[in-house]
Symmetry: C2
Subunit: 272 residues, 2 copies
């Protein structure tokens, strides 16, 4: 089953468009606990409430080799019917991207990865060749600095368009294996709206609700596809650090459930 | 001593603008040898001929946790007076880039890293704050797909410029700690020329000679600064795999020496 089918199956089973970002820092978890046990507890507490998990590999690399071992074991602990996006934002020349794809898909066991488009098609091709795996391209990121380059007006096909729109156009053109998605931050709802209209079929990973301040209602309204899915609303810190003490897993479950229900209420509101 | 000073000291000491790319794949080294021993032999054979080493982390990540351990030990083996760029092409939102910076500078011991500019200033700031470390921004990469986005004509400051030129302009603006460099492929000599003219002081890492077919003479002619330095001419496969058998280290030394001498001949030719 390819990534998009696996994702849609999890969406249906758990009635959820929630992506939990497993961005775990050792200094932010309960005293005396290790990251793997923390992650396992979060996963056990939320696996029936989410459609996808997304560990950002940076937080594991920051712990050196043992951090990567923790990530590897965390991914193994995730139930087989919930897909895993490793947020890695990779992209390099062909033979190097092939090494990254091998590392993240074959070794680490990711169902999908995030990639950076700056180096162009041949840097993404080694990832795209893994037809069963998803490749989520950065398009309009959630951070303030996104505007530095992504909003530049570029000439393309006789028109002026912001760079991020051209990235989305290329993503659609390159999507011959139906395994591409986009990253569009909830912090830029108008951009999200434009992208969804232009690309009705691409799954969109939406970070930026929660700590970053993106509006959930607009993210759902503008991001959702005609099947009432097609978005993965990510929350990292808002879920995994919802509680600070011994009941952190319970608090995480509560936060995931609240986010899931809030998203579903937005969708119900749109149907009226 | 910051990265640029350390680099210039090594350039002077070894009369060399050669960067050796330690992109070691286990399947391409002599039978029965491990990557760490191979890398140590390459380093021992070339350390008096180069100005910088550049392992691409992808080749190590492809081997999982033990690959990162190998990279860590490889970096430790490099003589203290030769700087190390970890080619990682990272870039993420602020708190995540901070984790990458911690991983690559503090843990892995890199003097410099390569970064991808797509997410803008706040994604690079956590790296730039390490004043003693170098931050080499992708500008015009050596691969064919580079043109997909990097060559798009964008509006900036009332003029139309290709995206890569705007990246270079921003790099100069953001270089308050004097620790930024650029990546410009030897496969695009005209672009290299324009960038050097516009940015006389930025160090430029130049991949793409050797297997990728870039012209060495043009790379030196167009890339060099007014002090006859400011470029790092990278060769990876052309040096580390110069020999296939037991004499691989000797062959690597010969290849590094030839590249160093060829670069220096180009410089001498320019002086006439």
């Amino acid at each position: 089953m390819n990534f998009v089918d696996k994702l849609n199956t999890a969406v249906r089973k758990n009635s959820s468009l929630v992506c939990v970002g497993l961005d775990t820092s050792p200094e932010l978890i309960p005293d005396g606990m290790n990251v793997l046990d923390f992650n396992k507890a979060i996963i056990d507490a939320t696996a029936d409430l989410v459609c996808v998990y997304k560990p950002n590999i940076a937080f594991y690399e920051a712990q050196g080799e043992k951090g990567l071992d923790t990530l590897h074991k965390t991914i193994k602990h995730i139930p087989k019917d919930i897909p895993v996006i490793v947020d890695a934002k990779r992209g390099d020349i062909g033979n190097t991207s092939a090494a990254y794809a091998k590392s993240l898909f074959d070794y680490m066991g990711a169902d999908a990865v995030t990639v950076s488009p700056y180096l162009g098609f041949d840097s993404l091709e080694p990832f795209l060749k893994y037809k069963e795996n998803g490749v989520i391209m950065l398009c309009r990121t959630s951070n303030k600095g996104a505007a530095d380059f992504q909003s530049l007006l570029c000439e393309y096909d006789g028109k002026k368009r912001p760079l991020y729109e051209i990235v989305a156009l290329k993503a659609s053109q390159w999507n011959t294996n139906h395994n591409i998605g986009l990253v569009v931050g909830a912090t830029y709802p108008e951009e999200l709206k434009n992208i969804r209209i232009a690309h009705p079929d691409l799954p969109i990973l939406i970070p930026g609700v929660g700590v970053q301040g993106g509006d959930l209602d607009l993210a759902v309204r503008y991001g959702i596809d005609t099947h009432n899915r097609g978005i993965m609303i990510n929350s990292s810190r808002g879920i995994i650090y919802a509680g600070k003490g011994a009941d952190f897993a319970k608090a995480a479950r509560q936060a995931a459930q609240t986010l899931r229900d809030d998203i579903n209420k937005c969708i119900d509101g749109l149907k009226k």
